[in-house]
Symmetry: C2
DNA sequence: TAGATTGTTAATCGATTAACAATC
DNA sequence: TAGATTGTTAATCGATTAACAATC
């Protein structure tokens, strides 16, 4: 560690990936030291980029030997400001929330959904991963004690504005938005990342060959 | 238009967004000319960036007056290589496919799901947006006449490798992948874009304030 | 024409890659 | 020590922003 100041967004995204990777690795058997080259090869990111990214983090690598995995894991957790549980809130229909669990089983990534809200009346009372689905309007009284400041939103396009407003009022200031909105109007100071499926599908449809790109950081090495 | 050569990936993603925006606009009433400033304000992209992006596209703006919306729409369609219908294939559980329609009602974006495949036996025969869900194994005999070269994949993490292989064999070479894979191993020449929900959630959880970022292009102007 | 906006060039900014001395 | 890998500086690459002459 030497680089002072905040890491650029691109680095932070990759650091999150390293954290996911280490989490999975630590849950497995292998526990030897880990070099930047190994991380580089596993994740398809250039070796220098890995070291540069890690230079923002408060961790010491051993020249000739690499990094201690669990030390690195903790350092990343601390640098990224991930609390023990990474509590978050989810918004969407019960069907959507339930389907999302297939691709984002949050516990496997060290995160926990502490509350969820649906736009459909009929969903209220359903249970998704042990959490009861509440009415969207109840978001207003989101228990601050839950301590969630991040939300995953996949609601109907028409509810987006309301959802963002309400989340903001409830103290949630970072959102991963899966619902595409053409003209985003966020509450002041809110941090919203969009995954725009339609736009990305269109840009992929583009006939000409493209470099493999990766929203959310990094791409395949091959 | 003057800039020759291929537009950078970032521009292509924004061009896709302009295309979505124009599509929505043309379906509405307003039909007057459109300036780069207007696009810029609606989408939260800098004015110069809009003009620079459009300089890759074969369309003429009128100084002092802007662009003709439907002319621009067609030019974008042609530049992006979007065929009339933008056919694509989807892979995931029936529940997932059905939930995804809430956030990506493809017809509204001028795209059409021409086939879909589930990893669950019990899903076979279900109908999602008028298309019968087929077994994953049938992907191998994907009718080439369907002409789909793009896929939206949100399958179980364990199926990713198989799905990619099969899609590749079926002539699909571009994939939007919603299932996070730690160590991506793609078939040679395949173009896979990842939306990594876990990594993005972690990077959002990061306590320090960040610039609003947008995977998939552009972010809020406010 | 005058006003407005385009298209493009040059300047800036930021991120990635290359190279290498420091060091375990 | 010798070999390997780190941490960092400098070079490169790419994308965004600023500025402005061309022009409808």
């Amino acid at each position: 560690m030497a680089e002072t100041g905040r890491a650029p967004q691109a680095s932070i995204l990759r650091l999150s990936r390293y954290h996911c990777f280490l989490g999975e690795m630590l849950r497995g058997e292998e526990t030897g030291r880990l070099t930047s080259r190994e991380i580089s090869e596993e994740l398809g990111v250039a070796e220098e980029t890995v070291r540069r990214d890690l230079s923002y983090v408060d961790v010491e690598g051993r020249p000739g030997a690499g990094y201690d995995p669990s030390e690195l894991y903790d350092a990343l957790e601390s640098y990224l400001g991930l609390s023990e549980e990474c509590p978050f809130v989810a918004v969407g229909s019960a069907q959507m929330l339930s389907a999302l669990r297939t691709i984002f089983p949050s516990e496997d990534f060290g995160m926990r959904m502490v509350a969820c809200y649906s736009e459909l009346e009929s969903d209220v009372g359903a249970v998704v991963s042990g959490v009861e689905v509440k009415q969207l309007s109840e978001l207003a009284v989101l228990d601050r004690c839950l301590d969630a400041t991040v939300a995953l939103v996949a609601c109907e396009p028409t509810s987006v504005a309301t959802v963002l407003q309400t989340l903001h009022a409830a103290g949630v200031d970072s959102v991963l938005m899966l619902t595409p909105v053409l003209r985003p109007h966020h509450p002041e100071g809110m941090n919203v990342t969009y995954f725009r499926i339609p736009c990305s599908m269109k840009s992929l449809a583009s006939a000409a060959p493209q470099k493999p790109s990766c929203c959310g950081g990094g791409h395949c090495a091959h």
